[in-house]
Subunit: 418 residues, 2 copies
């Protein structure tokens, strides 16, 4: 038995000029990994016939499954379908199921007349098998050549994801696949190299079929163990046993031993304790609230937020005293403390997070340079306050601050036991 | 004179299992485009020596500039530096400037002792030229072979971006580069194929050196013209003239004739009119506020927000009547209207946006299935209200709703003239 490898080819000039970030590849990689297909590589190329052909030739040297997205739109800049037709030596025919789908979409869903251009979407090479696209007019197409399987899908993520629902079982049936396991620990409060020193001995003795990766982000580091094998139980037991050892070594720095986001981790703690939360945000402008509420079911513990961007709102909605703002400024421990108390008064939430700072690029002063942020978390009885110094550009400063504030709240709940 | 092409190679197992989305490639592509270097392709590969060597061989067939990110960390899973040293036939030596930088960072910035592992970061192949990394301990490295230039950088975006500040002028000096121009129109309220029909004649007569692309997103479509040439003035005049024609054809659907985000477009209108805005958000949970405040300088027009996730907050902070919630429900025209009025009362902003809906995956009812969202924009005198039906998963529903709400506000300000 051997491993099956896939390559992902994303097609579109917009990917090469940086107008669009490729999120499809990561999503597809996740789905394939779950069924035991490893990714050999991912490549983004332009809407260029030669380039598409060369890449197909190159990728088949590495992989048995080639997943292609993009270039299937109805307009002239989209050439993938014709290039594939040519590459596999077919000719264009109208596919009945695809035609019905186009008509159905326009008549019943979009409520628009079907144009000539749209009808062309139902044409496919006669050497492919159509995989229906229930979410759009460009059909998915599967080509086979020798032992290789090629699947072409639209680049619109929502449509591609719909087609992948059919592709996954199809691939799982076609190949004898190993089980792939990933085990991840999220750590905080320790750097990559310091972690490496703590787990040096563990890493040196790790069996060679288990790989360890360090993934730093937001001042936190994820440690990930990966392995695969055809004996599912044996493979799983092996990684579990190593993971148990790893967990012991880094337990002082562990946020969670699952591949979860900070907002999910915090949400689960609140849910379990039947407590509610709210946020008072100045410089993060609603980003923390947005993270908390991005978790499905967060309405069970998220009351809401007061985004107090202006001084006026800090006073009128959060009861921050005018004198406090004048004496200490908006970016101060005193102000965030009053913001928190005002927030808890107004929202009646059990816990609150309050944030005020300067995210840049302008607005910095000598005392409070760009990146200075005060964060306070807690309830009426007890609070933890911290002055952060972010060193990124505006968007990243907001992002990092939001995650760090959620982590402060998490730690407060885990350690504080109020 | 010929065009110079670049390839971008991103290295890291995390890119292949989908744990991380590659944002570096898009960012690098944008920067190179600005100085006239076109991207031939972008490829993501794992931390695997053979794979790295094969990809370097393959990419040099296409490109004169090879930019490499990732795999330069201090831990064992990072192998890029050693593979490159081997590939270019060098041996490892300690670089003095890199060593000083590591020591400086640990002593002055991180306030941590420098470990053995960290000091190894200062080792580089003796066949490269070091490009200092002021934002981290792994130095950038430039290798030259024949007419080809290879640049290796860390995968951490913030560090990579810092190094690129030095790389860009270096490349601009090294090569004779053409000028690349992109002109983009953002349209709304019309589909890709309907647009194609309107501009068919224009597209058919477009000179072959100017490319037209359709980029659909969030129910809007971006039209982009691209060209390049060594005669800067001539090239620019040509694309400008075509762009003027295109603008006339789609003027009824144009949001803006620049490559700007909706939040920037709206911000500029508010700034110009010296008006302020605030938001009352239920289902978007602060995402609209977060978009508005992501724009530098938004404090000039953004007052703040009330995120009323619970019924309680809708009543207490936005003065929504209990009877309204009971009679019509939280997801109703009546509720968002009261939310808007409450918001304008509380924040004293000139304009407001209020949103309430069901983002999923749960919470849908027969009358209000998942994806139902009421949005209202306006001031006390005049409002525009709309019922949206989103059809994506939770995060995408929130994203699309936020952009559509900003667009409603924009249209209100442009057409309404209140």
């Amino acid at each position: 038995m051997k491993n099956i490898y896939a390559s992902i080819i994303t097609i579109g000039d917009e990917l090469l000029i940086g107008q669009v970030i490729d999120t499809n590849s990561a999503w597809i990689a996740q789905q394939l990994n779950k069924i035991g297909i490893a990714i050999k590589n991912r490549i983004s190329i332009g809407d260029d016939a030669d380039e598409i052909r060369n890449t197909l030739d190159f990728e088949t040297k590495n992989a048995q499954v080639i997943l292609i997205t993009g270039g299937l739109g109805p307009t002239n800049d989209d050439i993938t379908k014709n290039v594939l037709c040519d590459y596999f030596g077919g000719k264009m025919i109208v596919d009945k199921s695809a035609l019905e789908n186009v008509k159905y979409l326009f008549e019943k869903i979009y409520h628009k007349p079907v144009s000539e251009i749209n009808l062309k979407q139902a044409e496919v090479p006669d050497v492919c098998e159509v995989i229906l696209n229930k979410r759009g007019s460009a059909p998915g197409m599967m080509f086979q050549r020798g032992g290789e399987t090629f699947i072409s899908m639209p680049g619109v993520p929502y449509e591609m994801q719909g087609i992948m629902e059919d592709v996954i079982p199809l691939l799982a049936k076609k190949f004898k696949l190993p089980s792939i396991f990933h085990k991840t620990i999220l750590t905080a409060g320790i750097g990559e190299s310091a972690l490496a020193e703590i787990i040096k001995d563990f890493e040196d003795h790790l069996p060679k079929e288990i790989k360890l990766a360090y993934l730093p982000n937001y001042g936190m580091v994820r440690l990930r163990l990966t392995t695969s094998g055809f004996d599912k139980t044996k493979t799983e037991n092996e990684i579990k046993s190593q993971f148990t050892d790893l967990k012991k070594l880094v337990k002082d720095y562990t946020v969670i031993d699952e591949d979860k986001n900070m907002e999910e981790v915090l949400g689960n703690i609140l849910l379990k304790n039947k407590k509610t939360i709210s946020t008072a945000e100045s410089c993060t402008g609603g980003a923390i609230a947005s993270l908390i509420s991005s978790v499905p079911g967060s309405s069970a513990y998220f009351e809401g937020s007061i985004v107090s961007y202006s001084y006026k709102i800090k006073e009128s909605l959060l009861n921050v005293k005018k004198e406090t703002l004048e004496k200490y400024g908006a970016v101060s421990e005193e102000t965030v403390r009053e913001m928190l108390f005002g927030l808890l008064d107004k929202t009646k939430a059990d816990y609150g997070i309050a944030v005020s700072g300067i995210m840049g690029p302008d607005g910095g002063t000598k005392e409070n340079p760009v990146g200075t942020v005060w964060v306070i978390v807690g309830n009426k009885e007890k609070q933890v306050v911290q002055k952060l110094k972010q060193r990124f550009e505006r968007k990243k400063n907001i992002e990092v601050t939001s995650i760090m504030a959620l982590n402060m709240m998490r730690k407060f709940l885990v350690n504080g036991k109020n």
